[in-house]
C-alpha cells in the first residue's frame, strides 16, 4: 500500500489549480513590489524529493516482503503571508505531493494520470489573525503545539498527529479552530482555543499489520493479534481456533470500522492555558504554565470485535472463511497539564524542561464475540475493561546542553508515547537521546537520535547526515531502524508486543532526501 492510497487523490486539475492559485498570489506579491507592498507580502516554500529503500524483508505482511523501494516522493510546499497592516495578517500554505508509484493495475486505468502518477494536495494553513493591544485572535485552519518538551508533548492535545509518514514524526493534522490569546502583563499570558470538529490522527501505512492475522507463505494461519482480554478469555479463543487445521482457515479482509464522533458541539475540543514567566535573579529564568483540555484521544482504541467462522463458499467442505469485524473509537478525555522550562544564568548548567499531563479518560469496555455461520457461540461472548476511568499520568522531562560549538546533546525521559492511553497496553517508559554534531561551518551535520522503550527494550534509531550543499540546499542521507522482535514476548497479553519491534511500527529503511528552500 503506498501513501497515495492513504492520502486519496482528487482531480489533478483541481490540485494544480490550487497550487497555481498560491503561485499566482505570490505573483501578486511580485506585482505589489512595484507598489511598495513588499513588506506586506511574504512568500516562502520548498521542494523536496524523498527516496526510501527497505533494508529488511521480515517486517512486512508476509516474510520475504522487503528489499525494495518504500517511497519515491516529491513535495512542493508553498506558503503565502499577507500583512495588510501591523494588526492583521492572513496565512495560506499548501503542499502538493506526488507519490511516485504507479498504481495502474488495469488496462482501463492506463488512460488517466491519477493512477500512473498518484498525488494529493494538502492545505496546511489558511487562517486570519487580528490583534489588539493586549490580545490576538486567530481563526481558520492551523495546528497547535503546546508544551515545552521536544516532540513529546503530553499537554498538547488540540491538534492530532500526522504519522502517515513515520519519519516526519513532528507533523500534525491541520484543523479549523479559533484561538484567542490575552497578554494582560509581561509575566502572564492566557491562551484559549476552540476546535469545533474533532479530527483523528493519521496513522502509519503499517498500522493494519497490528490488526492483521499472520499467515505463512502458503496461506496457513500462524497468529492472530491478541485482543485486550483476560488470559482466560484468550486461552478460550485459542482453544476455538486450535480445533481447526491452520491451512483450512481462510481469513478474509477484516472490516475495521472507526466510530466517528457526531458533528455536535458536545464533541468540540477546547483548551485553555495560563503561562507565567519569572526571573529568579542570578539563578536564571523560569517559565511555567497550567493547562486544561477537553476533547478526545486522537488515536483509535479497540472497542468491539467479532470473528465469524463460516463454511467456505470458495474453498469447499472442511474449509472455513473467517471474517473479522473490529470497531475502534476515540474516547473522550479531560487533561490537566503543567509544563516548565528553566534556563540558568550560568552556561555551565543544562537547560531543563518538562511537562506533566493528568488524563481523566472515558471508560472503554472491549467486547468480543465468536460466531459460527453468523450465530454467536455459547460462552464465546467476552468483555474486559480496556480503558479504566482511573486518571493516569503522561510526562516528559528533559535536559539539553551545548558542549562545544559543534556538539549538542538532548536527552528526554518520556512516560507515555503519543499513542498510549492506558488501555490494556498500558503506559510505557522511554528514553529519547539525541546527539547533534556540526562540522565545516555547519555544512556537514550529523544527528543520531533514538527512542528506547525501557519496559520492553525495543527501540527505533535514526542516524542521519545532512550536507548543506549551498545555502537553501540540503541533501540528507539517513537510516531508520526498528529494533525488537516482531513477535510478542507474551502472546496472551495485549501489552505483550514490542513497541518498536511489532510490524505495525513500520519498516526499516535507508533514505535520501534533497530539499531546496526559498
Amino acid at each position: 500500500m503506498t501513501g497515495a492510497t492513504m492520502g486519496g487523490h482528487g482531480g489533478r486539475a483541481r490540485h494544480l489549480c490550487a497550487l497555481i492559485l498560491l503561485v499566482g498570489l505570490s505573483h501578486v506579491g511580485a506585482a505589489a513590489h512595484a507598489a511598495d507592498w513588499t513588506d506586506k507580502i511574504k512568500f516562502s516554500g520548498h521542494v523536496q524529493s524523498d527516496i526510501r529503500f527497505m533494508i529488511e524483508d521480515y517486517r512486512g505482511a508476509v516474510p520475504g516482503d522487503g528489499y525494495k523501494f518504500e517511497m519515491n516522493r516529491n513535495d512542493v510546499e508553498l506558503k503565502l503571508k499577507i500583512i495588510p497592516n501591523r494588526s492583521v495578517q492572513a496565512v495560506v500554505s499548501g503542499r502538493l505531493r506526488f507519490y511516485g508509484f504507479n498504481e495502474a493495475a488495469q488496462l482501463t486505468e492506463l488512460v488517466g494520470r491519477d493512477k500512473i502518477d498518484p498525488h494529493d494536495l494538502q492545505l496546511n494553513e489558511a487562517y486570519l489573525a487580528v490583534r489588539g493591544k493586549i490580545w490576538d485572535l486567530k481563526v481558520g485552519r492551523m495546528v497547535q503545539t503546546w508544551g515545552t518538551a521536544d516532540m513529546f508533548n503530553p499537554t498538547s492535545n488540540l491538534s492530532s498527529y500526522d504519522f502517515s509518514d513515520p519519519l516526519d514524526y513532528m507533523a500534525k493534522v491541520p484543523n479549523q479552530m479559533v484561538e484567542f490569546d490575552l497578554y494582560p502583563t509581561d509575566w502572564l499570558t492566557i491562551k484559549a482555543v476552540w476546535v469545533p470538529l474533532f479530527k483523528p490522527s493519521l496513522l502509519p501505512p503499517s498500522t493494519y499489520l497490528g490488526f492483521a492475522v499472520e499467515t505463512s507463505r502458503d496461506g496457513c494461519f500462524l497468529n492472530a493479534p491478541t485482543p485486550p482480554l483476560s488470559r482466560n478469555d484468550i486461552d478460550t479463543l485459542e482453544t476455538v481456533f486450535n480445533q481447526y487445521d491452520p491451512c483450512s482457515l481462510n481469513f478474509l479482509t477484516p472490516d475495521m470500522a472507526v466510530v466517528i464522533p457526531e458533528f455536535s458541539i458536545a464533541n468540540s475540543q477546547a483548551a485553555i492555558k495560563t503561562q507565567f514567566r519569572f526571573a529568579l535573579g542570578d539563578v536564571g529564568d523560569l517559565d511555567f504554565s497550567f493547562s486544561y483540555y477537553y476533547g478526545r484521544f486522537s488515536f483509535p482504541i479497540a472497542y468491539t470485535a467479532a470473528a465469524d467462522l463460516m463454511d467456505s463458499a470458495t474453498l469447499g467442505p472442511g474449509n472455513l472463511d473467517v471474517m473479522y469485524n473490529v470497531e475502534l473509537m476515540y474516547p473522550r478525555m479531560h487533561v490537566a497539564g503543567f509544563d516548565f522550562s528553566f534556563s540558568a544564568a550560568s552556561d555551565k548548567v543544562p537547560g531543563l524542561f518538562g511537562e506533566l499531563a493528568v488524563t481523566f479518560p472515558e471508560e472503554v469496555i472491549f467486547g468480543l464475540a465468536v460466531l459460527r455461520n453468523d450465530v454467536i457461540l455459547d460462552n464465546l461472548q467476552m468483555s474486559s475493561v480496556n480503558v479504566p476511568t482511573t486518571p493516569f499520568v503522561k510526562a516528559t522531562v528533559g535536559l539539553d546542553y551545548t558542549f562545544t560549538k559543534w556538539l549538542y546533546v538532548n536527552v528526554q525521559y518520556v512516560r507515555g508515547f503519543m499513542d498510549e492511553f492506558n488501555d490494556a497496553y498500558g503506559i510505557h517508559n522511554y528514553v529519547v537521546p539525541a546527539l547533534e554534531m556540526k562540522f565545516l561551518d555547519n555544512v556537514l551535520q550529523f544527528r543520531i537520535a533514538a527512542a528506547w522503550n525501557v519496559d520492553d527494550l525495543s527501540a527505533a534509531m535514526f542516524p542521519q547526515m545532512t550536507w548543506v550543499a549551498a545555502p537553501s540546499v540540503e541533501l540528507i542521507l539517513g537510516v531508520w531502524v526498528y529494533l525488537g522482535d516482531t513477535k510478542p514476548r507474551d502472546s496472551k497479553s495485549y501489552g505483550g508486543r514490542y513497541k518498536f519491534g511489532q510490524k505495525a511500527a513500520g519498516r526499516s529503511v535507508v533514505y535520501l532526501k534533497g530539499k531546496v528552500s526559498w
Partner: protein, 254 residues
C-alpha cells in the same frame, strides 16, 4: 527534536562595530577607561537600531556561503533576529537577556526556549558566537589599560573583571581617535593565545543619514577561517516598541 540552529543568536558584535565617524570629540588627555566608555557610547548610544545584514562565511578552501538576516535591538539586551534567506529562512531568535532566549522554529511552528549554554554555539556556522555578541557593555565586563597608540588609533588592553562571565580572558580594543569607533578587536583565549580578530571598515552613508562602517570581518586566528558581515541598511531611533521584543511578536511575525 529540533534543529540546533535555533541555539544561534544575535551577532551583537555587529552592532558593536558600527562606527560613529561623525562624532568628532576631543580626545586629548583621556584615560583608557574614558576612551572605552566613549567607544561604548558611540556604538550603543541609540534608543534602538535595526540592520539588514548579509553574512558571508568564508572557508579556508575559499568556499563561501551567504545568509541574509535582519537584526533589531533596543537597549543593551533586547534583540530580535530573523533569517530571510537560506535553509534557515523563517527562523527567528529573541534575546531578552542571557538566560531568556527564545527561538521560533518554522518547521515545527513553535517557539522554544533556549538555555544559556547555547550562547557558546556558532552563529549559523559563522565565526561569531553568541558570547562574541553579548559582550556589549565592555566597561562593565573588562578592566582596561592603555597598550599603545598610533596616528589613528588607541589600542586598549582589556582584561576580564573578576566575577564577570566572559568568553575571552583578554581583548585588545582598537579605537579610532577621530570618532571613538571600534575599528577592531583581538580576542585572546584563556591560554593567552590569540583566538580571533575582528576588523571593521568601508564607511558608508545609509539612507537614514548616518555614516557607519559597512563591513565587519571576523577571522579565526587558528584556522584562518573568516566571516564577513555586510551591513546593507542601518536605521536608528525608530521608536521600536517594547512589544516588538516579546514572544508574542516572535510568533506573530513568523
Amino acid at each position: 527534536m529540533k534543529n540546533s540552529v535555533w541555539k544561534t543568536t544575535v551577532p551583537a558584535v555587529a552592532l558593536a562595530v558600527l562606527v560613529a565617524l561623525p562624532a568628532a570629540l576631543s580626545a586629548k588627555d583621556l584615560t583608557a577607561t574614558e576612551i572605552l566608555r566613549k567607544m561604548q557610547e558611540t556604538i550603543s548610544g541609540f534608543k534602538d537600531q535595526t540592520m539588514d545584514i548579509t553574512m558571508t562565511v568564508k572557508g579556508v578552501d575559499a568556499s563561501k556561503k551567504s545568509y541574509d538576516f535582519t537584526i533589531a535591538q533596543k537597549g543593551a539586551n533586547k534583540r530580535l533576529i530573523r533569517f530571510t534567506s537560506g535553509e534557515m529562512k523563517g527562523m527567528a531568535t529573541l534575546v531578552e537577556s542571557r538566560s531568556r532566549v527564545h527561538v521560533y522554529l518554522p518547521g515545527m511552528n513553535k517557539v522554544r526556549r533556549v538555555a544559556s549554554h547555547a550562547m557558546n554555539q556558532s552563529f549559523a556556522g559563522s565565526d561569531f558566537t553568541t558570547d562574541d555578541m553579548a559582550s556589549l557593555d565592555w566597561p562593565a565586563l573588562y578592566d582596561v589599560e592603555p597598550l599603545k597608540d598610533d596616528e589613528n588609533h588607541w589600542y586598549l588592553n582589556c582584561t576580564a573583571k573578576k566575577g564577570k562571565k566572559t568568553t575571552y580572558s583578554r581583548v585588545v580594543m582598537k579605537v579610532n581617535k577621530k570618532g571613538f569607533a571600534q575599528d577592531g578587536i583581538e580576542y585572546y583565549a584563556g591560554d593567552g593565545k590569540l583566538a580571533k580578530t575582528m576588523e571593521n571598515g568601508q564607511p558608508k552613508k545609509y539612507p537614514a543619514g548616518l555614516t557607519r562602517n559597512s563591513k565587519v570581518l571576523m577571522t579565526d586566528a587558528r584556522t584562518g577561517h573568516s566571516t564577513q558581515l555586510d551591513i546593507r541598511d542601518f536605521r536608528v531611533n525608530e521608536d521600536l516598541p517594547d512589544s516588538m521584543f516579546t514572544v508574542r511578536e516572535l510568533q506573530w511575525g513568523q
